[in-house]
Assembly symmetry: C2
Homo-oligomer: 563 residues x 2
Amino acid sequence: MKIAIAQLNPTIGNLTENGQNILDAANQATAEGAQLLLTPELSLCGYPPRDHLLNSSFIKQMAQELETLAQKLPPQLTVLVGVATPNPDAAEKGEKPLHNSIALIENGEVVNYFHKRLLPTYDVFDEVRYFEPGKESNCFVINVQQADENLVPVTIGVTICEDLWNDENFWGKRNYQHNPLDDLALRGVDMIVNLSASPYSVGKQKLRESMLGYSASHYGLPIIYTNQVGANDDLIFDGASITLNRTGELVSRAQPFQKDLMIADFSPTEQDFQETTIAPSPDNENEEMWQALVLGVQDYARKCGFQKVVIGLSGGIDSSLVAAIAQSALGGDNVLSVLMPSPYSSSGSIADAEALVSNLGIHSATLPIEPAMNAYDEILEPLFSGTEFGVTEENLQSRIRGNLLMAIANKFNYLLLSTGNKSEMAVGYCTLYGDMNGGLAVISDVPKTRVYSLCRWLNQEQEIIPENVINKAPSAELRPDQKDEDSLPSYDILDQILHRFIHEHQGLDEIVAAGFSEEVVKNVTNLVRKAEFKRRQAPPGLKVTDRAFGTGWRMPIASRIKG
Amino acid sequence: MKIAIAQLNPTIGNLTENGQNILDAANQATAEGAQLLLTPELSLCGYPPRDHLLNSSFIKQMAQELETLAQKLPPQLTVLVGVATPNPDAAEKGEKPLHNSIALIENGEVVNYFHKRLLPTYDVFDEVRYFEPGKESNCFVINVQQADENLVPVTIGVTICEDLWNDENFWGKRNYQHNPLDDLALRGVDMIVNLSASPYSVGKQKLRESMLGYSASHYGLPIIYTNQVGANDDLIFDGASITLNRTGELVSRAQPFQKDLMIADFSPTEQDFQETTIAPSPDNENEEMWQALVLGVQDYARKCGFQKVVIGLSGGIDSSLVAAIAQSALGGDNVLSVLMPSPYSSSGSIADAEALVSNLGIHSATLPIEPAMNAYDEILEPLFSGTEFGVTEENLQSRIRGNLLMAIANKFNYLLLSTGNKSEMAVGYCTLYGDMNGGLAVISDVPKTRVYSLCRWLNQEQEIIPENVINKAPSAELRPDQKDEDSLPSYDILDQILHRFIHEHQGLDEIVAAGFSEEVVKNVTNLVRKAEFKRRQAPPGLKVTDRAFGTGWRMPIASRIKG
């Protein structure tokens, strides 16, 4: 039996276009002889639809679109489509109004709905906000014609994303009360399919393959894992759908970070898949993260309707990396970089930025900001006379640049990309309404030490980021001879402390016990807390780690906390 | 039996200060002869603690602080304190790691914990993100000495906030599977206490009193409702704790919008409260909202460590209202208003702003922005020459003002208050990094029509907002003779459409069916969707309606949705 795995890239809420993409995949699947088509979780509305789900007319439109789609699908193809469906028991039983469902479509009709049982409500996930969990295990039967014309029934267990993330034996603990795998194994299914929209973070695909391989072999059941691909705001979905035999062996993998349609061939007699193509995974974490970021920029621009982006280039490593990502995502012709030197800019920085522009083949403009600095000094003179040059004046330079970039973005309908890294965003070493300006914060979840390793990786074959950009000491160049490390610990130390504090939720004592100076740790954790008001107003940032600032980081601002 | 109801105003995470406030309340309660002290939900850490709860060292500190506090409390006083506690079953049963609990303290020791059973996970609430619901109904017994020296046991049912919000008979539907009131009634308790942190929205107190009165009389049980007071970021807690007799009659009410300690006197023989003081509720919705906004500004400034605020005054009604709120919250001496006229500013606007400054007795400075406008024109000339004056140039004026205000805020450590109203924020009639700048958006949940009614209410006894500010046609004054209604429907129509779309979740068809022009409705809903990227970067805004932009509004940006 041939099963098509459609790794789709939906736009949130665009039911017509997403439906058309499912139909296209169905036609292709049929042409390739498939009997069953799998699509990702909520494939009709895209994941995550968030508060669009509170709009009842949106839920009605989704039901209509599903019906229209069902009628257009090839009748001989069984199709699983992800949709949000009303929960008829909600008012009577005091339940949530919707289910996160999979519609089973046969012969142009929806013949069953399967409801997601484990609803992630942590990090970026808010599923209990909208959905009631399904209470039953989900499966259906497909009759497969054998060479001898006999029909063999194959029972397929249906799970939705998180439903497979509670294998107690793999995790060493339970994450939810139920384990849908246990129930399906008891029902004697022949295979498990999983319809997912699992956001990328570094190393996630390895974790998935290891976890699913464990479960397949533990239950002795082959698994098909179908993942969404593409970026929706801050979340990047990496695709890389896979099939695993009942021994846990990986037999096929779809393209990572690309739309794809993969055919798996299941033998009902052998109860396993025939080996097909295994698309290569990225070689290393740098390559993986690079691909994620490129897709993130590409999809945010496309789905928001922008063809071109504008970026402020300082000659530093962060803006250089963002420019390289943008060039790879959209082509050099669609990237405008703007150099905005001040009297504090070093000639080296300008030369470095120009070298990068030339390496990338992107457009550039140079707009010296001194006239605006003088104008603000003049305007503020009545209030500021007698005060010393300080952070206020540094911020003003950053904000003048932010204004110029927004003026260009507004005038020519460009998307402004902001260039701050995660280490800066963590400790607030960035200017609100200045260098934080932008529609998308491309590397705001990339720690500074990773920015360096990404640039070195990128330069492996030829110099893309000028070597001088990588080798010079980082500086904001907002006052003479300023260096980042005048105000902050070295990025190597800083990133280790931040990782413990932000990702591992460690307290002061634990971090100090790991060998860091108490004074430094206290300073860093205080800076992180004090910068909350800045992060609250940051643009969405592409999530590439397991704990990013943004939708999955919900911190109070007016707060006093020790340690 | 005297019961003290401590309506406390905690700062999120400040365990030491919050603990001290509970201790002070306990000492006062003892001095007034109380036998039992009630404090709000999560009174030790403040509500909502949000992702601080993911930090295990914070949970440990809370447990230590609770123990320290218990030892200091007057031994003869029984005290209920709100704390987050670890769920020991989490890993084994696949449950959430914490409970939202009430500690029962007697004789210097925690003798029991009660866990919240209904966990709100909608709007601004994320409780399932952190907490496992309690599975049992909660009660304890206090022995009350009668005049004849006999001890009479009084059984007190304990509920936490949402636990009382599922009376199916009142709502006409269930919101959760269980109703803790049913269980407590079956256990034959003598009284229900509710420990709450229930955020304000307009009309909420009336709803609470009506709902609790209904439940008290339905179950024939007296109820004490103890609410948190004070603002934490976007959420304002209005206090107004109440006691209700078993007929549902209101017998006492604490001060709304103020810290308070109220004594209720319960007669075990009559099974009801003796009547005490009923603090007056605000006369009308305008007064209520005004008090909420004043408290919101006061607490955000205080809890973030600011004494003074700065506001850009345009001579328009929004900034005038915000200045009046700030003056009431912090005193005229702590408010700096800045007039930043451009060549497009009318002399009337400047005069209006000056009249307001004089009415309020606040500080002011005037900084004409033309030099900065010219500087930007000069800098951008190479890119912009030949293009027409348009939205870009309008935004630049707004951003120059935003930069000047931030420079003043940075230089003198003032909190910048932004002045945009909800109608503007909804349709994007505001400039990101311009007039949206600020640490707190004071009226971003106040629709424009309500801005007018608040100003008229404020002027009832004497002119505070200059009449001309109220009567003139609203204008951004970013180009000659500009009026808001050139770009938008009249605010009266706009606010009705917005209410249906944002609050009632109505679709295009429903709004048109209510009598609005399809073209206008389509235009408005499109504007709302297109402005999502601006709102994502807005400062926290004080929530005063049942659906505010901000933490309770979770919309995708890169999204295409019809209708």
